[in-house]
């Protein structure tokens, strides 16, 4: 697979790791970066053809082999640069797949509408991770399943948690929420409704997206951020 990565701005580390990842998987990677220092650093560190140039300049894209490329991934720091790079790749060089990073989450829909195949918003992804993950300090781990409608999370009951000391069935946990497993001092317990949780228990909790917050509040007392 022939892959062109477009850099520019503060995304050099992303470019570096992606270039390394794709070339390890046998891809033929070409990086186009407008910054001389970044281009030099990349050329020394990755198994890729690195070209000093602007990813939205048709001549530079041609030089990077856009005519034969299978994918172009635009990772520049400024959204308009990524849009134009992808559009030129499609229109002029017929690159079959274009992907772009957007910084303004609103641009995700805009880029789709303007014909970019795959758009990822780093701000949105990080924002989701932060709000789902660290909003509750007692959550050690969280996995969204079923397209994010169900959450499987690992929760540690903090001191003073309202969920400790009373049988599970009396806590008033919302429908569709289940404490599936309790890990207590290294032992695994599958709790029933008459079992009570204890402070420092590690719970594996399954919730629906709509009752996730309520369940956490009942168990840990944490209202989130």
């Amino acid at each position: 697979m022939r892959i062109i990565l477009i850099g520019g701005g503060e995304t050099i580390e992303t470019i570096y790791f992606l270039a390394r990842h794709f070339s390890k998987e046998g891809g033929q990677v070409t990086v186009l970066d407008p910054d001389p220092d970044e281009a030099r650093m990349l050329s020394q560190r990755v198994q890729a053809t690195v070209i000093l140039g602007d990813g939205s300049d048709p001549a530079a894209l041609e030089q990077a082999g856009a005519r034969r490329a299978d994918v172009l991934i635009a990772l520049a720091a400024y959204d308009p640069d990524n849009l134009v790079a992808c559009q030129i790749a499609q229109q002029m060089f017929g690159v079959p797949r274009t992907m772009a990073l957007v910084n303004d989450p609103e641009n995700e829909a805009v880029f789709h509408q303007l014909g970019i195949d795959i758009v990822f918003s780093a701000t949105k992804i990080i924002g989701l991770l932060i709000s789902e993950h660290t909003a509750y300090e007692d959550i050690a781990n969280l996995i969204p399943v079923a397209d994010g409608r169900v959450h499987v999370s690992e929760v540690i009951l903090p001191k003073g948690a309202p969920g400790a000391g009373r049988p599970l069935k009396e806590l008033g946990l919302p429908h569709g929420c289940l404490v599936t497993t309790v890990i207590r001092r290294g032992k695994v317990i599958v709790p029933g409704g008459n079992d009570a949780l204890q402070v420092a228990d590690r719970l594996v909790l399954v919730t629906l997206i709509e009752n996730h917050e309520q369940a956490l509040q009942i168990l840990t007392g944490d209202r989130g951020l």
Binding site: D57, Y78, D79, L83, Q87, Q91, E106
Partner: protein
């Protein structure tokens, strides 16, 4: 008339008779365009120094907000050609200046012959 510029000092260049509104911000942000009430605009001219911003703003104005008359300034002739084919109305100052120089040079030649 609404003028959008990321640099507030740029508005000092507007003539004293300018009676429109100014908005400080990046026109490549939907929010900034909405603040300028783009939904109600009949015409948008994207004339920043950066081709990519102009090309993006022009397409957003046209396709997202349905502005009927949209023109983008594109300095790079190669880029201009692609987007013109792609249906974006563009003006390329580089080509215009080159043409003006060519005409001036030809006229001068002819003047010399006379």
């Amino acid at each position: 008339m609404v003028v959008i510029d990321p640099n507030q000092e740029a508005f000092n260049n507007l003539s004293v008779e300018f009676s429109g509104f100014t908005i400080t911000g990046d026109a490549a942000e939907l929010d900034v365009l909405r603040k300028a009430q783009i939904e109600r605009a009949d015409c948008l001219l994207a004339v920043s120094r950066h081709d990519n911003i102009n090309l993006m703003v022009a397409q957003v104005a046209r396709q997202v907000f349905g502005v009927s008359k949209v023109i983008a300034q594109v300095h790079d002739p190669a880029r201009e050609a692609i987007f013109q084919r792609f249906g974006v109305d563009t003006i390329c100052p580089t080509n215009m200046v080159a043409e003006a120089f060519l005409i001036a040079a030809v006229n001068k030649d002819q003047g010399g012959q006379a």
